[in-house]
């Protein structure tokens, strides 16, 4: 797939094979991997497949023209943030304005001035690099390094949709540190932070590689367990609970920390249950675990937690 050699991929969409040859030669010394298609209708698929860092897009193509491709790329959730440099034989401002209005990053007129094209390509690649960095940062919790609330919302919706489509098992555990406010009040905020980081470490060491751990907010964490039914998920949750309870805290070595867990999982078709309702069900179990005395995991099958949800499958 894309970026395996750490060279950014650049996708060229131009109906003329001459332009492909020309740019292959012209960009030979750039640190990029150039992929291309002469069929405009293939552009979006190519973009999804190769995840390019920049797209060079010809305007004047038979069939689907460059503006239509531009629109389709901007409508595609997987491709819409890729910088696009429009290539055109027309220098008129009307086409430029249209291209920029449709979301193009830059505009280069043919025949290419080599130095200019290279410079503009490098600028687009820098933009892509920053956009990727920003997208990563925007979804990482600064303290624990886990995914944040935004990352959770996105990944959870993806996993529920996947499970709905393929009928695969899926489980969600919500975890909340017991008496967290007391830790903060008694030992200070640095101690509280240490506990948050400690739970994040237990989450990572005890979960499996496909599992997705996020800090949901405050002292509440979420663990998405794809392809995992409730029984197996409970084993993972118990491992995390035990690992946290076994940690020794330098700031309060005599006060162990525990966590309560609410878990709702499904072994089979999930029906039409929404990500939100599933999350609410897991939260209900979390509060049940708190009321039952904390430091425990309460697990339910989705079909029981949300009666009727799985019937539609």
């Amino acid at each position: 797939m894309a970026n395996t050699e750490h060279k950014p991929v650049v996708l060229l969409v131009d109906d003329s094979i001459d332009v492909h040859r020309l740019l292959q030669a012209r960009l030979r010394h750039e640190q990029i991997e150039l992929v291309g298609t002469t069929k405009s209708a293939e552009a979006v698929d190519m973009a999804r497949q190769h995840k390019p860092s920049t797209i060079l897009l010809d305007l004047d193509m038979p069939g689907m023209d460059g503006f239509e491709v531009l629109r389709a790329l901007k409508d595609d959730s997987a491709a819409n943030s890729i910088p696009i440099i429009v290539l055109s034989g027309k220098a008129g401002s009307e086409d430029k304005v249209t291209a920029f209005d449709l979301g193009a990053t830059d505009y280069v007129t043919k025949p290419f001035d080599l130095a200019e094209l290279r410079a503009r390509l490098r600028a687009a690649l820098r933009l892509d690099h920053l956009l990727r960095l920003l997208a990563e940062r925007a979804e990482v919790d600064g303290l624990t390094g886990l995914g944040n609330r935004a990352a959770f919302d996105k990944r959870w919706a993806e996993k529920v949709a996947e499970s709905r489509r393929y009928g695969t098992p899926l489980s969600l555990a919500m975890l909340d540190i017991d008496y967290f406010k007391r830790i903060n009040d008694t030992y200070g905020h640095p101690a509280g932070d240490q506990v948050l980081v400690g739970l994040a470490q237990s989450l990572q060491s005890e979960s499996r590689s496909p599992d997705i751990a996020c800090r949901y907010g405050g002292e509440e964490f979420a663990l998405i367990m794809p392809s995992t039914g409730p029984a197996e998920a409970q084993i993972v949750a118990e491992r995390i609970r035990a690992a946290l309870a076994a940690q020794i805290w330098s700031r309060h070595p005599d006060s162990p920390i525990t966590v309560s867990v609410g878990l709702v999982g499904s072994s089979g078709p999930i029906g039409d249950v929404t990500p939100d309702r599933w999350l609410e069900a897991a939260d209900r179990n979390l509060y049940a675990a708190k009321r039952a005395g904390r430091n425990r995991c309460i697990t339910a099958d989705l079909a029981h937690a949300i009666p009727g949800a799985a019937k539609a499958a």
């Binding site: 131009d14 109906d15 003329s16 094979i17 001459d18 332009v19 040859r21 020309l22 030669a25 012209r26 030979r28 004047d60 038979p62 034989g89 043919k110 025949p111 290419f112």
Partner: protein, 110 residues
């Protein structure tokens, strides 16, 4: 109009660029084929294919350092964008095809 034999050869303005030498050679070698295809489309009256070819030559002519070729192809494409039209338009197309063919005949690697 001077005949292709007496008119001076057309050489790429990018001929001295080492990156381009191989490409220009390939482009020049393929020109006779393209001219045949162009004439073929014109004789068959396939104006949409003729337009597609003119469009490509416009882009590659400029890109490979043959600006006059690119411009002639561009003129042809422009006329064809309004085709099929009245007789006058087709006469223009005929003249522009000839012009393009004559320019192509003068293209040389060096």
């Amino acid at each position: 109009m001077p005949s292709p034999q007496t008119a001076p050869p057309i050489i790429s303005t990018l001929a001295s660029d080492p990156d381009m030498a191989e490409l220009i050679q390939l482009f020049v070698e393929e020109i006779p084929d393209r001219v045949r295809t162009l004439q073929d489309f014109w004789q068959r009256g396939d104006l949409s294919e003729l337009k597609r070819l003119a469009h490509q030559l416009k882009g590659s002519g400029g890109g490979y350092g043959f600006a006059t070729l690119g411009a002639a192809a561009g003129n042809l494409e422009h006329t064809l964008n309004h085709a099929p039209g009245p007789q006058a338009d087709l006469e223009t197309v005929a003249r522009q095809v000839d012009e393009l063919v004559n320019l192509c005949a003068r293209v040389r690697v060096a």
